[in-house]
Symmetry: C2
Subunit: 417 residues, 2 copies
């Protein structure tokens, strides 16, 4: 029980205070505002026929520092957001079978590679035309190349198309893309610092190794019985052990330098092969409903559009964003050509959101003195624009891709469920 407000709160000995007295009311209130912002935003968006995820992003943006300033996300909001997107990707992994993912290996690899080369090329070209140095241009290109799969996963799940071929191609390509980006960032940072160390190689090996090990584990997990999860006395259901597995693989993934969500997706793939799959899909849903909105609300709350007030930056940002969208779309159209016109477009659009990876690259360039403040802002705004436009592109392409696929091979495309 906190104190009545009439009583001045004394300084509290940190080592001696139990939990409930240690949760600051203002932090709890901030979390509540973020959650409400996301849900009201979703409600309004859906009433107007817009994608739910755009509403959550917009709700977070509105309550955040950029507009109403009702809340400034702090450590706890960031952690809930991260757990939220980890749970989202774990749920997505739960709905994907390893064999289905490996079956689309060729278009996934092709898409990942083409949809990485094209944006880098475009970013480099735009920067060089703008008179920037080559190293600077490469940073801009890299920031345009990295894919963040959170937004796309949410749209795929919301539209109920995770069992479609194009969805699996996007997921596979996103995993490969993240590994490629990790390696390239290490290389470019090393070159920028004049020192390509052996640790870059180690990181690359670790990243490929984690994904490879995860796939091997998923294969071995096939048909494992529910009791594999419920042998501990604390586990009435498979949820807690599966949550621990998800959390552990996500942490290892993050520690290596991959996104935590890649690890979470791989953990989901593993569990999806076991007999606990259906029960877990059911049990993880309430956790996603509570945690995941924080990811989108916090992402929205972090958006700062003041840079757009400078016309030069605004134009550059829009050029970069258009190039970013066009090159990712082209990557899908080329790399996943075999899925047909709309299927490959959906794949390309699925690769459009850049999210945090692009921003980490931009920060790296800023810190290395390679990006000017203006260029940095333009890259950030371009990243935000790709993130907001992607749900609309997906909402446009996905029904057409589904119809196209049903026409091409109805039996193979319809989900077993």
């Amino acid at each position: 029980m906190p104190l009545p407000h009439s009583v001045a709160l004394p300084p509290i000995e940190p080592g001696l205070l139990p939990a409930a007295a240690g949760a600051p009311l203002d932090v709890m209130l901030g979390l509540f505002v973020l959650f409400i912002g996301a849900k009201v935003g979703e409600e309004v968006a859906r009433r107007f026929g817009q994608p739910a995820v755009v509403g959550e992003l917009l709700g977070g943006f509105l309550v955040g520092p950029g507009v109403l300033a009702l809340v400034v996300p702090g450590e706890t909001a960031f952690v809930l957001a991260e757990i939220g997107v980890v749970i989202l990707l774990f749920s997505v992994g739960l709905e994907v079978r390893l064999d289905d993912l490996l079956a689309v290996g060729r278009p996934a690899v092709l898409t990942a590679v083409v949809a990485m080369i094209l944006p880098i090329t475009a970013g480099v070209a735009i920067s060089l035309i703008g008179g920037e140095a080559l190293t600077t241009a490469v940073f801009v290109g890299l920031a345009l190349a990295a894919t963040s799969i959170g937004i796309t996963s949410r749209v795929l799940a919301d539209m109920g198309v995770l069992d479609r071929t194009f969805a699996r191609v996007v997921l596979g390509a996103a995993v490969i893309d993240d590994v490629l980006a990790l390696i390239l960032i290490g290389l470019v940072s090393g070159v920028a610092a004049g020192d390509v160390s052996g640790s870059t190689v180690l990181v690359a090996v670790a990243a490929v190794g984690l994904v490879g090990l995860g796939f091997a584990a998923a294969r071995r997990a096939r048909g494992l019985r529910r009791e594999v999860f419920t042998w501990p006395l604390f586990a009435d259901t498979p949820l807690v052990p599966a949550f621990i597995l998800m959390f552990a693989v996500a942490l290892v993934s993050a520690a290596i330098g991959l996104a935590a969500i890649i690890g979470a997706f791989v953990a989901g793939l593993i569990v999806a092969e076991t007999e606990a799959r259906d029960e877990l899909e059911h049990e993880i849903r309430p956790l996603g409903q509570i945690f995941t909105p924080f990811f989108f609300a916090v992402t929205g709350a972090q958006v700062d559009l003041r840079a757009l007030l400078d016309p030069g930056i605004a134009v550059l940002a829009i050029v970069l964003a258009v190039a970013g969208v066009a090159t990712k779309a082209a990557g899908g159209l080329v790399g996943a050509r075999e899925l047909g016109r709309w299927g490959s477009a959906a794949v390309g659009f699925g690769m459009v959101p850049r999210g945090e990876v692009g921003i980490v690259v931009a920060n790296l360039g800023l810190a290395a003195g390679l990006l000017s403040a203006g260029l940095f802002s333009a890259v950030l705004v371009a990243v935000v624009l790709t993130t907001v436009v992607a749900p609309y592109l997906l909402a446009w392409a996905i029904p057409r891709a589904a119809a196209e696929a049903d026409l091409r091979a109805p039996a193979a495309e319809v989900a077993p469920s």
Copy 2:
């Protein structure tokens, strides 16, 4: 995607960074350690036939700063802990019907009053005998009088006896106890500061008003249809709207100065009357499984037993703890006499854990210069001891209370489910 470790992380612009890059890996790792500590602790405890909650407390204690120092709970851990205990009390409220609670109004009120007067008297007497001033003695008494219902709720739920009369008496008494403690703390603090302001009265009115309004809302909620929760487009199930209600009432409760868990319990009572009850009981369970262990782990991690190295403090702490347990037990035996010997004992033991309220009072006394550092430590250790001993007392009394009740009036005591 965080950076590979070979790359020095640049300073990042706070306002521009999306969520995933903002969740510090060390915080995530600390949360993971706390969760694992709680679950391993629970597993070991249960293998040895001990109460699960003792294992979670012990696990948190072991990984915490007091022993292995693998993790020092920070803001995020405190918030997850608070949400965890809020969800726990919401779940408990979901399993209680308002009428059943009001039916035990007399023993609940009696128990709350007697189990508040006796420990205050004992604390005052021990302190006066120890040569302390009267104001100091009153603070010690108050710290011994406050009940925290989190531990008891967990034990009642674990043992599946929430539908028993003695469980409802404990819950009702704990709510009344929290309101009484809030009022007394305001009064005593005012007296200590030489100023009993009108805001103490306001706080008292607000506290009684919140509980009264909650009860009235629960009555009006009777039989409300599921659609009351699922009309928003974002609500596929009642979970998210119910979560928002729970969070809101908990925040109001905390803002008034009551425990957040009192608000959560009242919110649970309200929802329990609607047709969404069964579905919510099912959906809230996964959230409890993930959030609630943080409460017990963080509580355990906050325990610091170094004060016990001073024999004077150790003896005083044990005297206070014994007095605290005995007076609460006596309060139950007297106040809930009509439930029979074991039923009333179970009620008394359920009031034993002091938790955060006792510690807030002790901190208040320390800050006001009324408690010496030694007396402060002794009170804290006594609070911890009451918390650890309570699950054992409950585990001892509850089966006997259940058997006794079945003998007395089998039909009335057996749950409708």
